[in-house]
């Protein structure tokens, strides 16, 4: 606990320290200053550690911070929606962990965190905190025994290592090489300054490179080639040994090689899930899955149920972890296909036409290049529009409803019926002419609304009526004309 702060701050201290040494010309005095810096950091860390306390008082957790200003944060245990334990590398070395407590409040500052508790303490706290809030385990007079809780867990799935090879298909972390390159250049500049190498040298290096375009091109090609490789490596590092398990009333997802992360989601608050696949993933038959949870901040990273796994596995796992959806998706009317095609082609076709006109009028070659590119994109719009139409669908199996849309990123949401808090039908002027509308199921979780795009007017009313007949039937036209 004591060590982690100075150790973590050392890298950021390193440059100023080195700077101090350089400026001082490695004189004894500069060593003293550097040593003072290190000691100061350690002392600061010790004081910070000594003034931060946490305590379980009855049915609430209190954290107190009294370094400069005093602050006490009280978290009622019933408000805790999830506990997130992670172990960054430095922490792991020292057997420590970071505990984050999700209270469902919005805003990053509202979240309570305990940085640097021992692993065993983190596990104990986690069981205690979650145990108190899990409704299945409510014994008002006898607080639950943590030791017992630790045993009641069952693994739902452990993702095999070879499925990590699907990583590059997800398109995640593809920009890593560029981030690395940018970081390296930035660091070079910074170090250059610190070490007394002027910016002129860097500029000269840049100019030298600029005069050798083939070298620049080679670097660019290398970076592009590195995209899937490095992206895949990053993906593997983050999703290493992904385990999804159930521990009394909670879904727990663990993942990560360097920073092992464990996220607990209260089953009661899971309203459904979203199954996502991109173009490449669809070709390989793999999907990713996220949980749709009420009051979960940062749900994109926290709500992940599955990394890339084969589609049947994803169905089996989400079915077991949340609930199955087994009904076919109904297609949307053919006029929806025309609309998808129009929207995928028309903007590019218009751009092609405009740039062609501009090219003729002004005689600039750039106009022709732009026109050709736009025309190619318009051509690509044909399969894209058709595929977008093929993706559209909605369905209901008696317990859960499902809507699907998208092509480059296709997402199918499956939502419990009881999670629906309202319906909204929206019809733009163009949709009115085409006789279609967009049906939005209001859900108090996830993104808040899940859309069935371009359903026919009859479907748009029939579907909500089928899911929640008691809400819609009072407002239907008489049976004679419906």
């Amino acid at each position: 606990m004591l060590l982690i702060d100075p150790v973590r701050m050392l890298p950021s201290l390193l440059l100023p320290l080195v700077g101090v040494l350089f400026v001082g010309g490695f004189s004894p005095r500069s060593y003293i200053w550097a040593a003072l810096g290190v000691v100061g950091t350690v002392v600061f860390a010790v004081i910070r550690w000594a003034t931060f306390t946490y305590e379980l008082v009855g049915d609430r957790l209190e954290t107190k911070r009294a370094l400069i200003s005093r602050s006490v944060r009280t978290i009622p245990l019933e408000r805790i929606r999830g506990v997130d334990v992670s172990t960054p590398p430095m922490h792991r070395l020292l057997g420590l962990a970071v505990l984050k407590i999700d209270t469902g409040a919005s805003g990053g500052n509202e979240e309570a965190g305990l940085d640097g508790v021992t692993l065993t303490e983190a596990e104990r706290l986690k069981t205690v905190l979650l145990r108190r809030t899990a409704p299945a385990a409510v014994h008002p007079t006898h607080p639950a025994h943590p030791a017992r809780a630790a045993h009641a867990e069952r693994e739902i799935v452990r993702v095999p290592k070879r499925w990590l090879l699907y990583g590059p298909l997800s398109g995640a972390y593809l920009l890593t090489p560029f981030a690395f390159a940018g970081g390296a250049i930035g660091l070079a500049f910074q170090w250059g300054d610190e070490l007394g190498v002027g910016r002129d040298v860097a500029w000269h290096a840049g100019e030298w490179l600029w005069e050798r375009p083939y070298l620049l091109l080679a670097v660019a090609v290398l970076l592009v080639l590195a995209m899937p490789v490095l992206g895949g490596v990053m993906y593997a590092v983050f999703n290493w040994d992904f385990v999804l398990k159930r521990r009394d009333g909670y879904l727990v997802a663990e993942r990560g090689l360097v920073n092992r992360r464990s996220v607990s989601l209260e089953s009661q608050r899971v309203r459904g899930y979203e199954i996502v696949d991109g173009l490449a993933e669809r070709w390989a038959g793999v999907v990713r899955a996220w949980a749709i949870v009420t009051g979960l901040g940062d749900s994109r990273t926290r709500g992940q149920l599955l990394p890339d796994v084969p589609r049947p596995v994803a169905y089996a796992v989400t079915g077991e972890a949340v609930g199955p959806y087994d009904a076919a998706l109904r297609p949307h009317p053919p006029v929806a296909r025309n609309r998808r095609l129009f929207r995928a082609i028309f903007p590019w076709a218009l751009l092609a036409l405009l740039s062609a006109v501009a090219a003729v009028a002004t005689g600039v070659t750039l106009g022709w290049i732009l026109a050709v590119v736009a025309l190619l994109l318009a051509g690509a719009g044909i399969p894209l529009g058709l595929d977008r139409y093929a993706s559209l669908g909605h369905g209901y199996d008696g317990a859960r409803l499902s809507v699907r849309s998208g092509s480059l990123r296709r997402a199918q949401a499956v939502i419990e019926r009881r999670a629906v808090v309202g319906w909204r039908l929206r019809q733009t002027w163009f949709q009115r002419r085409a006789g279609v509308l967009t049906l939005i199921a209001g859900v108090g979780a996830g993104t808040g609304g899940y859309e069935a795009i371009d359903v026919s007017e009859a479907q748009g009313v029939a579907f909500p009526t089928e899911v929640t007949p008691e809400w819609l039937t009072p407002f239907l036209s008489g049976p004679e004309d419906s």
Binding site: T294, A419, G422, G444, E457, V461, L472, F475, L476, S477
Partner: protein, 171 residues
């Protein structure tokens, strides 16, 4: 989809005074657009680097605003008055709204979290109010504009009381 579709119209119209409210808003928008376009036309005619035909015909912009914008802005209040309707029955709020884009919203009272009654500056002048019925989801929330103040207050009261009875914490 109008009354011929599978859905019937909600039972109640909003207050007739809402037309005046929307007319006032249209007028404001028109004045702003006209002023803006006049300003832009004035500026454009002064710029030397633009092609001549553009700076010489800059007066076309405000004319276009009047010719194209005015009919829309003038029609909007009356179309809205025909479209905007609401109803509370079977413990579900059913509301229709919109001008170019229409919206039908169904909000069951059991899922309502808050009911807000608000009055803007114009609304206050006309004795109107806007009712905001909120659930845990923005897509499942409804806003009813242009209600008579008394009606809005009564409806808010009724909804709040009923929501307490029916409260269903599934969200």
């Amino acid at each position: 989809m109008t009354s011929q579709g599978p859905l019937r119209d909600p039972a109640n119209r909003v207050s007739p005074k809402a037309v005046r409210l929307w007319l006032l808003q249209s007028l404001m928008a028109f004045v702003l657009m006209l002023g803006g376009s006049l300003l832009v036309a004035r500026l454009v005619s002064g710029w030397g680097w633009l092609p001549d035909w553009l700076s010489e015909h800059s007066w076309l912009l405000p004319v276009a605003v009047v010719v194209l914008g005015l009919p829309f802005l003038a029609a909007e209040p009356f179309v809205r008055y025909a479209v905007h309707r609401w109803e509370l029955s079977g413990d579900v709020v059913y509301a229709r709204s919109g001008f170019l884009t229409r919206e039908w919203v169904f909000v069951p009272v059991s899922r309502i979290q808050t009911v807000d009654k608000g009055q803007g500056w114009f609304e206050r002048m006309l004795g109107l109010a806007t009712l905001e019925i909120r659930t845990a989801s923005h897509a499942g929330s409804s806003t009813i504009q242009g209600l008579e103040h008394g009606v809005a207050a009564g409806l808010a009261e009724q909804l709040a009381r009923r929501a307490e009875v029916l409260r269903d914490d599934a969200t």
